[in-house]
């Protein structure tokens, strides 16, 4: 199965811009399905970005983050070809991780 994480990391000069889109339902636990039962909460709680062995960004998410969540940020200290490790864990213990190259 292709990874649930799509990432675009582009470095220009010392600043690397990172965009990520993650395939995840991000269910709030407040929505009913067609049969009228509550769909249990199922959402990513923590999303971590590491580059050159250092955390460059940590996201703590609640149930108000959109389905197939997206986040964009930039950081200094990365350069073309560096590895960017991205990993997330959700409230059901699910997780995924990939390592992308900075373009």
């Amino acid at each position: 199965m292709a990874s649930s994480i799509r990432v675009r990391a582009t470095a220009n000069g010392d600043i690397t811009e990172v965009q990520t889109l993650i395939q995840h339902p991000m269910d709030t636990g407040l929505v009913k399905d067609s049969k009228g039962e509550l769909i249990p909460a199922h959402y990513i709680q923590e999303l971590k970005f590491e580059c050159n062995g250092k955390d460059v960004f940590v996201a703590n998410w609640g149930t108000a983050v959109s389905k197939d969540p997206y986040v964009k940020f930039s950081f200094k200290g990365g350069k073309k070809g560096d590895d960017l490790k991205i990993s997330w864990t959700d409230n059901k213990g699910g997780s995924d991780t990939i390592t992308a190259k900075i373009a």
Binding site: A2, R8, Q19, T20, L21, Q23, K67, D68, Y70, K72
Partner: protein, 287 residues
């Protein structure tokens, strides 16, 4: 009860006749002339929205409202249909059990051809849409057809649309009376009021594009299918042309026809033909 409704119907039809007489264009030229219709259709929108660039019409509501356009451009940086696109690309390349793939069913291997769909099949004497052709390809290769309103069909059409992005819509109407009839039938469907709300497609997409229907901005009818299939935030999922037609019907409280019914195929033929010359921008993201 009987007498009262008879009187009522009589008064109503009288009002209707009066209305028909007063409307200026009561005499309809019976000869079907798609080229003139398309020119008139496009000019209507170009004049109604002079400062909207012609190719922008394919961006639907975002061509009508700056605040919405900004939200759209932010989404387009990393669009929500990205997953459907990747899935579609993978499915397109995955061979059927008999070893063939979709590429064997389509001209040019199915790449960059979306702008020629739907086309009129002179053998069958009917309009064939991209979604129909995909399912026929599956059935011809011993595979079960996909639902017209679910994700698999949306992913496939998303990928095929993506390979045609920027190409201009190029729908042909052969010199065949049945093709002209299909075009006319599509046009009739487009302008016919239906459902308890008594709306036609034109009530919203011709009379009031750019205006709001509750939170949503109405898209202009010109180029409205160029961005298909679309990821709709409202559905938080992909929508094929079939799904859009079916949901639009039920919103006006009309019972939808079965997906890929003749009327739907014809109205898609009409809407695509009058958008000839405008770029394909699918897959699209919409509210």
């Amino acid at each position: 009860m009987k007498a009262r409704s008879a009187v009522l119907l009589a008064s109503l039809s009288a009002a209707l006749v009066a209305f028909a007489l007063t409307s200026p264009r009561v005499v309809a030229a019976d000869k079907v002339d798609p080229a003139t219709d398309a020119k008139a259709f496009q000019n209507f929108f170009f004049q109604k929205f002079p400062d909207v660039k012609h190719e922008d019409f394919v961006n639907g509501p975002y061509s009508m409202n700056a605040d919405m356009k900004r939200q759209w451009q932010e989404k387009e940086e990393f669009p929500p249909y990205e997953f459907a696109l990747d899935a579609g690309k993978e499915m397109f390349a995955t061979p059927f059990k008999n070893g063939k793939t979709y590429a064997d069913c389509f001209p040019n291997g199915g790449i960059g051809i979306r702008q020629n769909y739907p086309y009129f099949d002179t053998k069958e004497g009917k309009v064939v849409t991209l979604e129909l052709a995909l399912n026929r390809c599956r059935e011809a290769n011993g595979e079960a057809p996909y639902s017209y309103v679910k994700d698999e069909m949306a992913s496939l059409t998303a990928y095929m649309a993506f390979t045609s992005r920027g190409k201009l819509m190029d729908i042909k109407i052969p010199d065949d009376p049945r093709a002209l009839e299909a075009f006319e039938n599509g046009k009739r469907y487009f302008y016919t009021r239906r459902g308890q709300l008594n709306f036609s497609c034109a009530s919203c997409h011709v009379q009031s594009p750019g205006e709001r229907i509750r939170a949503e901005i109405l898209a202009p009818a010109l180029g409205i299918l160029n961005a298909m299939p679309i990821y709709r935030s409202e559905w938080s999922g992909m929508g094929t042309i079939s799904r859009r037609f079916v949901t639009c019907n039920s919103q006006t409280r009309a019972v939808p026809l079965e997906p890929q019914a003749d009327e739907y195929r014809d109205v898609e033929y009409f809407l695509s033909y009058v958008a000839n010359g405008l770029p394909i921008s699918g897959p699209g993201a919409r509210p």
